[in-house]
Symmetry: C2
Subunit: 444 residues, 2 copies
């Protein structure tokens, strides 16, 4: 089967039935504002990192209903013929602004604002949420791991623990949050993330003995390579590794065992053998807590798999996409919000800024309700324009977008108060405040 | 950016460095057997459901290194020129057999066996694991929800809570495990999964009032539609719904609130209004436990989102892909296994059967080590051939493959002892036994 290039069916059925019904009752053309946000941070974390917009913009560029998509909708009677015709001409012509990719966020942060007629905006709901929920889950977990690693490099190597395309997104999101590299080659090709890796256990098992495996690897990849030393017995493997490669061996990798103890023993053995520059990489089911517990261990680099690609216990960020305002014709904007228990939302246009003190330390998330700009010179406005009247700003896409997002994430993290880096459960590092039209401030 | 159709870079960097090194030391051509299996079931569950092979076969058909892939590898010096040339001609020519898609599985079940030269098999590791780990996580969770729903239909509607392509895989896997439908249109188009959905809260908020929204929906989609009744006040909404649609309204949907209480109140109100055939669908953060807790409630259908697409607490199945045997030339097979603590594997070829008693009830998972067939007439052999000498058996792909997998899952579930359906933590429903060459049996 040849895969379809259109992204237009990465959409929930009900979005098209709503368009269909709206076409018939004349509400399809009502100008609307949809907002993408999270009501809370998962697992009582201190902050989240938003990721995905660069990918979402590329998916948006391919969000068109071609013959194959229209035929499926027609055959399955998803919508009426009139709506099929409208879909055939669909190309998003509205305006999207939002938080920079790599920005930190808090409960109610209005991460993305989609402004268009109802029919154009409502059908982007699922695609946008899929991207933001997954990519932000990975970036948020990755940022905590980067903090815990305290300057030591982290490589993402969890491709095998998530869907094969999510694996590419995960590598990208982890890199934005400060990881140094990924094992995933497609992420290297599509997004410019540095890739790395040397050998698995199968490499050792393929050979008649460990010595042959190490010798062949060193011969092919050079002395600077990293040898995996826990297939059989670690001390034996270390001895063999240095015999084969010499004391200038690049590194050894440990993928099992009681790491704090093992790492210290391996460091001592390497030093005793004269391999004082040989680095130790550990890759055994690490998450931010395990990384933090190795703070005092002589680990040189971490490889993280399952936990980063699964958001370390929060694989869906809980972001939602809600209609927050609408108007008829050129009339006033009408804020709208549902009243479902536990799922309240705040209607109206928004204008968010990061409040900062005179030293540049973030102190709060201020959201002007109604959309008028607020804030003083120390504050940092949080919205950038991604799509204006249907035209996508390409600077946020591709590998260049990823690099910019990574740089921005580092800056946004540096702004946070030190307490934000605590791994334990607690309140968000910043409180979110609504500023109403009359200037009154309300805790969100 | 136009997406690449080749799947060959959905691969970890180290797989190609191993190929590169193996080309140089002459081990690349050693005949090998790789096995894909899970060491344990997540969260002390009673069984798992394996899914993904139909997708994996389609990805395998596109696993080829075209110019764009080779250029990336060359520019980034991932492998040597000789290896690039080999990759340019790569097309898997080995043999793959394994469990049927939709089969239930247990710890150590040898779910997939890949037999080929080392270089051909090792580079499929990441792609196969990504597919199996995610799809099986969803199918395993979905099967428990199907059990808990006890005959009432379940719709998958979690696309927004997982990566946009994983969403399609999730819809497919949930359908295989017994869900009736999905909200995801691409899953309908690509895999033939029935799609469904009517309206979101934004539909109600778009209109000047709830009555207008309901009336427009009924006008467009007919009286048989399902109205979402919890945007403002449920009893008011129900009254309005029946006034607008009449007592033949198809259904109402509840997406919030204290469901056991609310559902009963809604049923009573509908009955009092004469709408005794109007169905109640609930969709509020359901998982298998919440579904089970509604066993005595007058719910007609369930919509499940986050929990099914995230494997209900186990989003990665923990499956691994290990070299279990190799041989030089036409010599004997040599079983191989690593000895890393907590990560032992059993070497050698395998032949698995489901042991069944004379009434057809499954009593154990028997795995012949060495690969000789075992079992008596009541037993059910578990392997089918998927790829023979590089030729993919198309019957397992596409929508037809999905339908067959769904039917097989229902049969395999029906075979299990009743205790398997318990939702609580416990031992696997079946124990796994190794049968050795000498006929001795060993608990895995």
């Amino acid at each position: 089967m040849t895969p379809y290039l259109s992204t237009a069916l990465l959409t929930d059925h009900y979005e098209l039935t709503m368009v269909d019904a709206a076409m018939q009752d004349g509400t399809a053309d009502r100008e609307c504002v949809f907002e993408l946000f999270a009501r809370r941070l998962p697992n009582d974390r201190r902050y989240g990192v938003v990721a995905g917009i660069g990918r979402a913009l590329e998916l948006l560029a391919r969000f068109q209903f071609e013959d194959a998509e229209l035929e499926f909708l027609r055959e399955n009677r998803v919508v009426s013929d009139a709506t099929l015709e409208w879909l055939a001409n669909y190309k998003f012509s509205g305006t999207i602004r939002g938080y920079r990719e790599g920005e930190v966020y808090f409960p109610q942060s209005p991460l993305l604002e989609v402004r268009s007629i109802f029919a154009e905006g409502v059908i982007l709901e699922t695609m946008l949420l899929s991207v933001f929920n997954y990519d932000s889950a990975v970036a948020s977990a990755a940022a905590r791991m980067v903090s815990a690693a305290d300057g030591r490099p982290l490589a993402e190597m969890g491709s095998r623990r998530t869907g094969e395309r999510s694996a590419v997104s995960a590598a990208r999101a982890a890199f934005i949050a400060g990881f140094s590299a990924t094992s995933n080659l497609e992420a290297g090709r599509s997004w410019g993330v540095p890739t790395m890796g040397t050998a698995a256990h199968s490499w050792t098992l393929l050979h008649d003995n460990e010595r042959d495996a190490f010798a062949a690897q060193v011969a092919a990849l050079g002395v600077d390579t990293t040898l995996l030393v826990d297939t059989y017995d670690v001390p034996n493997a270390i001895r063999t590794a240095i015999e084969v490669a010499g004391t200038e061996l690049g590194g050894v990798r440990l993928d099992s065992g009681d790491l704090p103890v093992l790492v210290r023993e391996v460091r001592e053995q390497l030093d005793d053998l004269g391999a004082t520059n040989t680095k130790i990489t550990v890759t055994n089911d690490l998450d931010e807590y395990a990384i933090a517990s190795l703070a005092a261990s002589p680990v040189d680099a971490f490889g993280v798999g399952t936990s980063v690609v699964t958001g370390s216990g929060a694989v869906a960020s809980g972001m939602v996409y809600k209609l927050v305002a609408r108007r008829e014709g050129d009339g006033d904007w009408v804020p709208v919000a549902k009243a479902s228990p536990g799922k309240r939302s705040v209607g109206g246009l928004k204008y968010p800024v990061r409040r900062r003190d005179e030293r540049g330390v973030a102190t709060g998330e201020l959201i002007s309700v109604g959309g008028l700009p607020v804030g003083d010179d120390d504050d940092r406005p949080l919205y950038v324009d991604y799509v204006v009247d249907g035209v996508i700003d390409e600077q946020y896409t591709g590998a260049a977008g990823v690099r910019a997002a990574r740089a921005h994430c580092a800056e946004a993290m540096a702004e946070l108060p030190r307490t934000a880096r605590r791994l334990g459960k607690g309140e968000p590092a910043l409180s979110t405040y609504y500023i109403h039209d009359d200037g009154s401030m309300e805790l969100a």
